[in-house]
Amino acid sequence: MQNHPVYTDNDPQSELSTLNLGPTHPATHGVFQNVLQLDGERIVSGVSTIGYIHRAFEKIAEHRPFYQITPLTDRLNYCSSPINNMGWHMTVEKLLNIQTPKRVDYLRVIVMELARIADHIVCNGVLGVDTGAFTGFLYMMEQREAIYEIYEEVCGSRLTTNIGRIGGFERNFNSRAFDKLRAFLKSFPKTLKEFEGLFNRNRIFVDRTRDVAAVTAETALSYSWTGPLLRAAGVDYDVRAMNPYSSYEDFEFEVPVGDNGDVYSRFLVRNEEMWQSLRIIEQALVKLDKEPGDIFHADVPEFYLPPKEEVYNNMEALIYHFKIVMGEIPTPTTEVYHSVEGTNGELGFYLVNDGGRSPYRLHFRRPSFINYQMYAPMSRGMLLSDAIINMSSLNVIAGELDA
C-alpha cells in the first residue's frame, strides 16, 4: 500500500466523491459500513462503522449458566462454531481444574481441525468469487457439505453446532462419523489440489492479489493481528504451537508463514493450513486407535449432565442433574484467560467468576474485531477493487466482529 500515491484535497486536479460501501453491499460479505472518499477509483480516506449486528453476547453471558453459554459462542464465528464451543469448554475446564482424557482431546482436535478447514474453504472460495472465479467456490462448498455431514453425525446439527459439553462430548462418535471422516480424508485432498491448481499459478488471480494490501510484520503486530493474517506477514505465532491446548503438543504439524502479508500470501497460508489440518486429523485417527473407545467425557459428575435415562432411574444421577441445572455447585472465585487458535486468530475467553452459576464477567477476545480495525487505515491509497479483495481476504465474520 505504500507504493500508491495519495491524493489530498489540495491537489488541484482532485475531485473527490463519497461512496457508501455497506452495510448491505454484496461485496462486503457481512454488515459493515465503510464511507469512502474516492479520487477516481483510488481511496483517499475511509471511515468504518460497525455494530450493525451487535447482539450483546457479553451481557447475555452474565445471565446464563456456564453450559448455556456454549450456544452463544456458536454464533460468534459461525463459519467455525466448534472451535468457539470447545474454546469455551476448555476455559471452564481450566477454571474448574478438570483434566480431560486423551481420547476427548483427540476427538476435539479432529472436530476443531474440520472446522478450520470449513472456515478456510469459505474464505478462500469467496476470495475466488471476488476475483471473478466462481468454479473453485462451488467445488469447495461441496466438500464443506461433507464436513457438515460429519458434524451431523457427531451432534446432529450443521452450522451452529453446540458440539460437546463441559468435560467432553455429549455422546460418543458413532461409526458412521468415522466412516464419513475417512471418506472425507480421501476425497478432500483431490478437491484441494484441484482448487490450488485453479488459483495458485492463475495469471489473473496472481495479478489481482499479489502485493495487494501488503502489511509488514511490525504494523500487523502493532494492530494486534493474529492468525493467518499475521502469519502471512511472516510472524509464526500460532496458539496451537505456542500454548498447546487439547493435547496439540502430541501432533506434528507445521505453521505456514507468508512473506509480505499481501492477499496472495494470506490465500496461500490458508491453503497450506488446510493441508496441515488434514495431517493433524490423520494423526489423530491413528492415536485414537490406541485409546479405549468408550471414553468420551471426563469423569466429573458435578459438572457433566448425566444421561436422561440415568436421571430417571438413578438417585445419584438425579441429584447431580438437579444440582447442575439449578446451579448449586460451588465454583472457584477467580479469573481465567484461555485462548485457542480460532480460524481468524487468537480467540480468547476472559472469564471473571464470583462463584455463582453464571460468569460475573465474560469477555471474548474476538480476532475479527481486532483484525478489522486496520481496514480503513490500510485502504488509504488503494484502488477500490483492491479494497474489496482485501476485505474478503481479511475474512471478517460479522458475528464475531460485533459480538
Binding site: 455494530g51 447475555i60 452474565e62 494492530y223 505456542m242 500454548n243 481465567v336 480468547g348
Partner: protein, 167 residues
C-alpha cells in the same frame, strides 16, 4: 526462550514502581498486577520496551464493573511477550464519575478499537484517544450497557407479558 518467571517480573516492577504497582495474584499462572492510572502508561511502556521482557503484543483491553466497590470501573489489559511466551494482566480501577485514563494508542495502534469498545460498554474515557466514539451501539445511546445496573432485556418491550414466562 523460556517463559520469564513471575517473580522476576514482580521484582523488576517493584524496583521501578515501588508501591505504585501492587501484585494481586497469579491465578492459573497468569501474573496479575494493579496499577494506578497515573502510572499505567509508564508501566505499559516499561513492559513493552524492557529488553528482557518485551511484552510487545497487546492481546486485549476490556473493562469490568463492580458496583459495590469504591472504585467501580476496572480497565483490564492483557499483554503477551511473544518472544518469551509470557503473559501478564494489568488492572486499573477508576472511581465512577471520574472515569478518565490515558490512552494506550500511543503504544499500540490496535488499542484504538479496544478502547472504543470499553468506552462504549463502560463509559471509560481514554484521554488522548484519537477518535473516542461509540463503536457497537447506536450513537445516540446515553447509557453504558455493560454496567451492572443496565438491564439485559429491552425495558420498552410491550409484547412480552410476564405471565407467559411464569414471572
Amino acid at each position: 526462550m523460556a517463559a520469564i518467571p513471575n517473580e522476576d517480573i514482580v521484582k523488576a516492577i517493584g524496583d521501578k514502581f515501588a508501591d505504585a504497582v501492587t501484585v494481586i495474584g497469579e491465578p492459573y499462572g497468569l501474573l496479575t498486577v494493579e496499577s494506578g492510572r497515573e502510572q499505567i502508561i509508564d508501566l505499559l511502556t516499561f513492559l513493552k520496551t524492557d529488553p528482557s521482557f518485551k511484552f510487545t503484543f497487546l492481546t486485549d483491553i476490556t473493562g469490568i464493573h463492580y458496583p459495590e466497590q469504591e472504585k467501580q470501573i476496572g480497565v483490564i489489559y492483557h499483554l503477551h511477550s511473544l518472544t518469551t511466551n509470557t503473559r501478564i494482566r494489568i488492572k486499573v480501577f477508576l472511581a465512577d464519575g471520574d472515569v478518565h485514563i490515558p490512552t494506550a494508542t500511543v503504544l499500540w495502534e490496535g488499542a484504538n478499537w479496544m478502547e472504543r469498545e470499553t468506552y462504549d460498554f463502560f463509559g471509560v474515557i481514554f484521554d488522548g484517544h484519537p477518535d473516542l466514539r461509540r463503536i457497537l451501539n447506536v450513537d445516540d445511546m446515553t447509557a453504558f450497557p455493560m454496567r451492572k445496573e443496565f438491564p439485559l432485556e429491552d425495558p420498552n418491550r410491550v409484547d412480552k407479558k410476564d405471565f407467559y414466562f411464569g414471572r
